[in-house]
Amino acid sequence: MKPPLLLGMGSPILSDDGVGLYVCRALSGKVPGVEVAETFLAGLGLLEIITDRPALFVVDAAIVSGKTPGSVFVMEREAGFLHLFSSHGVGFFELLALGKTMDLAMPPLIRIYGVAIEKAVSFSEELTPSLSAKVDEIAWFVRRDIQETLGREGLLAL
């Protein structure tokens, strides 16, 4: 089995949308026992990256009304699966449901860190200055939460 995975998601050319990539870049090689990776892929493209892991942690940008940009919230949700109208519509939770149905080795432990961002994003290969200033703090929070979670689940030795 592969080690637990921390996956940063987002677009590298859409400014704050890519905050998950920046957080993972800041944590590369700094979370003992955890593989850290970045991706902007969607849908089935992620399947082979996330299977055969004891735990999966995802950090991604999210627009949530009332949340200050840069604030982090943890999401856990049961996977569902809906009818699609485009091959671009295979979302993360749909992917988890598909993997489960097909008896693939899906990670039993999944936590998603949503980093609140402003709704309006524009093309840029840099984060907005205010969010950029918070990346290290967000990374520290994510790292600590991952270690605590793995410790609680008895997965730190992996």
Partner: protein, 490 residues
């Protein structure tokens, strides 16, 4: 904590499609629009950058189909630097591009087309999905799809780095060669891909062609649209995916244009409508006459069905046999049945797999001559490929230093935007006869949309995958009758 979850983090920034259907006083459909409400601005973002950065940047436009943008970009650089690839480089690029086609087309068929035909178009959405398909046909089918996709993605990774997010494209060549040891694996993948393609086609025939109701649905006038068609063709007008001339046939199948991709501006007009962020396109000859079909219309379609309607033949034997059967069953060229895109997609995937069988056995594939280094900046470059969803153009202009001064992209969903509007309207008019249509009837309308597999990320050059759709029904006074969202709001 669970109470906080109101969004899907992957789809929180997605392009937003909206189908708006206006009903008349009798409850029939008066009009229908497919709207895209999103930003543009990608081209502007690129200006001032070195042109060589484009193959790294453009795959980021879309998290699902990056290989097509990457290849069009690399070919634009070939043209910009007057550096055609060496024979081996071209073989390697075609190998990668065919592998991409295989993985792309099977997602569409098994995830989008199959649920409608396996579960039935009127089945409840909770069951009408890939999980329903797997439940009915068995998990081994899903495993086969994932295995063949993974192995073709391995080819993409081998040639261009991170799969399926290629970024190693170079003007005049490819970043690495193929070894004899790697050739063995590629041959096995290509052979198995052909076997899988034949399996998928047999499955389609069993599920769809043997069911009279489904064949009637495909042939239904409500799913037919008499347009012109555009795609790339190679020598003798054979179907081409990686390179060729652009051919256009009219709604009667007569050739109306055959041109080099560099001349696209002379043949394709672009304009903006206030109700959508997609720049719509039309044929300059015969010129814009509005959203009309039939002879004289400037509306044209691209994609799998267009490829079969435009090409006179397919170079590979198994796919050519299937092409002939396609027209025997559905009628003479051009076939205007929008749902025939599904069958055409499977035939294209078979052809791509057969092409990789040939390429994988080419002696020159493992040559070290992988880069043409004679670069000469000519300040304008156009790259064109047949993307899975249709003909894709990348047009770059630079200053004397090779810094971009103009970027223009025309993607499949732009070509198809007007036909999608028209297809949705026809399907809605054909199937919605009451103010409160049943869920299954609305899905039939969506089927017209789904057959094109549109990509809003690509069309607006903006977003990485994910794409919700809102279907709005209004009465003649504009009052809301019903709103349906896909995915349903969490």
């Amino acid at each position: 904590m669970a109470r906080q979850i109101t969004i899907n983090p992957i789809t929180r920034l997605e392009g937003h499609g909206k189908i708006e259907i206006f009903l008349d006083d009798q409850g029939g459909v008066e009009d229908a629009y497919w709207q895209v409400v999103e930003l543009r601005g990608f081209e502007k973002f690129c200006l001032g950058r070195p042109a060589e950065e484009m193959p790294r940047i453009v795959p980021n436009i879309c998290g699902v189909c990056p290989s097509a943008h990457h290849m069009a970009s690399v070919k634009a650089l070939d043209d910009l630097y007057s550096a055609p690839p060496t024979r081996t480089a071209r073989l390697i690029r075609e190998l990668e591009y065919n592998a991409f086609y295989i993985e792309d087309h099977y997602i569409h068929f098994f995830f989008l087309a199959a649920p409608d035909f396996v579960m039935g178009p009127e089945a409840q959405p909770a069951h009408r999905n890939i999980l329903g398909v797997i439940g009915k046909l068995g998990t081994e089918i899903g495993a086969k799809v994932i295995d063949i996709r993974k192995r073709n993605r391995d080819i993409i990774r081998l040639v261009f780095g991170k799969a399926p997010h290629p970024e190693g494209g170079l003007p005049g060549g490819v970043p690495r060669g193929i070894t004899e040891e790697e050739r063995e694996t590629i041959i096995k993948t290509a052979d198995d891909s052909v076997a899988f393609a034949m399996f998928a086609l047999e499955l389609f025939k069993d599920l769809v062609l043997k069911n009279e109701k489904y064949v009637d649905l495909i042939k239904s006038p409500s799913f037919s649209l008499a347009t012109s068609y555009m795609s790339l063709v190679g020598p003798d007008n054979q179907m081409a995916l990686y390179d060729g001339k652009v051919r256009v046939v009219d709604s009667d199948g007569k050739q109306t244009a055959l041109f080099a991709p560099t001349d696209y501006v002379d043949h394709i007009g672009e304009w903006v409508e206030p109700w959508t962020y997609i720049k719509l396109t039309h044929l300059r000859n015969p010129g814009w006459h509005g959203f009309t079909e039939g002879p004289g219309s400037a509306i044209y379609r691209v994609g799998p069905l267009a490829r079969l309607n435009v090409a006179d033949r397919i170079a590979t034997p198994l796919a050519e046999k299937e092409r002939q059967e396609f027209f025997t069953v559905l009628g003479k060229k051009p076939v205007h049945a929008t749902l025939a895109n599904h069958w055409a997609r499977l035939i294209t995937a078979l052809s791509a797999a057969e092409q990789n069988q040939r390429i994988s056995r080419e002696p020159d594939l493992t040559s070290k001559d992988i880069r043409n280094m004679k670069l000469s900046l000519k300040k304008v470059g156009v790259g064109c490929v047949e993307a899975p969803r249709g003909t894709l153009f990348h047009h770059y202009e630079t200053d004397d230093q090779g810094l971009l001064t103009r970027v223009n992209l025309i993607v499949a969903t732009q070509h198809n935007a007007a036909p999608i509007c028209m297809s949705v309207k026809k399907a809605a008019q054909g199937f919605i006869k009451a103010k409160k249509p049943r869920e299954g009837l609305l899905n039939v309308v969506e089927m017209a949309f789904r057959a094109y597999d549109p990509c809003l990320a690509c069309a607006t050059h903006h977003l990485p995958g994910g794409m919700p759709l809102t279907l709005v029904l209004r009465d003649r006074q504009g009052e809301l009758v019903e709103v349906i969202r896909r995915p349903e709001e969490q």
